[in-house]
């Protein structure tokens, strides 16, 4: 599970911005949410899905 370390870090960064933005919305947090948090979580999800795809193809399940 070494690979989910990067994804976990990206998710932590994304949530560390998203949750304060949802509770205390302001222009600066909105900027961080739009330009930092969303890409971080998007990349994390994409990396996990890529790992799943690689895992499934290596086992001839896909």
């Amino acid at each position: 599970m070494r690979k989910v370390f990067i994804e976990s870090m990206l998710v932590i960064v994304g949530l560390a911005i998203s949750i304060p933005y949802i509770i205390f919305p302001n222009p600066y947090l909105m900027f961080l949410f739009v330009f930092v948090a969303q890409p971080c979580i998007g990349v994390a999800v994409a990396l996990v899905l890529w790992e799943v795809y690689k895992d499934l193809t290596s086992k001839d399940l896909l």
Binding site: R2, V4, S8, V11, I19, I22, V34, I41
Partner: protein
């Protein structure tokens, strides 16, 4: 709705902390439990947080107070909400209670979820320039205001239809290449740039945030609504 969002956000945070902690503790074996923790901890709950955040970006941002939270919008907000002598369209609409809610968004609807992609990109550009402070006052609207946003509310109203001059305007607006703007006849929507220029006589008052007075503006609005209701009853 705001409270539900806040509670959901805190719930997501708590679950996420537990999941990531458990994931770290069980990271050596790729069991079904770990796989489900990855599914929920890295895909489902973060996406839920994004959904909640985007709700704020597209829905809560319709509130006029959200627009007002950027310092650069203070001249427009103060003129609209607090200047009782102002004759701008925004001020007349707000202070006469012609728009019940989402006063900014009602005219600038293009920024919303159903608006054009260009408007959304403009919104992101405005946000970027505000946060990085790469703007100069007075700010100016780069594009052209879509008069169909006015027509959306005024269409079919008796006072609008009664004015014969509106017929060719509507025809023009509904055409492929509209050349007329409502502002051509009805005046400025917001204070002129000279008043919004730092150093001008009006700038200090216009740019001074008046957040606390929002409550009073609501009271004025409620009072106007009460008057309208009593006028209806007396008919």
């Amino acid at each position: 709705m705001e409270i539900i969002l806040d509670v959901l956000a805190i719930f997501v945070l708590i679950v996420e902390v537990i999941l990531l902690y458990q994931l770290r503790a069980n990271r050596h074996e790729l069991s079904a439990k770990v796989r489900s923790m990855v599914l929920f901890g890295i895909i489902v709950f973060p996406l839920l947080a994004l959904l909640l955040g985007n709700y704020h970006v597209f829905v809560s941002s319709k509130e006029s107070t959200t627009c007002q939270s950027c310092h650069v919008m203070s001249p427009m907000a103060n003129d609209m909400m607090f200047d009782s002598h102002s004759q701008t369209l925004a001020s007349r609409h707000y202070q006469n209670g012609w728009i019940a809610e989402h006063e900014c968004y009602s005219c600038h609807a293009d920024y919303g979820f159903q608006g054009t992609m260009k408007a959304k990109l403009d919104g992101y550009r405005h946000l970027m320039r505000y946060v990085t402070k790469t703007y100069t006052e007075p700010i100016r609207y780069r594009g052209e205001f879509n008069s169909m946003n006015c027509y959306g509310c005024h269409q079919g109203s008796r006072t609008f239809e009664a004015v014969d001059e509106h017929a060719p305007v509507v025809e023009n607006l509904l055409g492929d290449d509209p050349t007329i703007s409502c502002l051509n006849c009805h005046g400025r929507a917001h204070p002129e740039p000279s008043k919004r220029t730092p150093g001008s006589k009006e700038y200090k008052w216009l740019s001074d945030p008046k957040v606390k007075e929002v409550v009073n503006a609501q009271e004025v609005k409620d009072y106007i609504n009460t008057l309208a209701a009593s006028a209806e009853q007396s008919k």
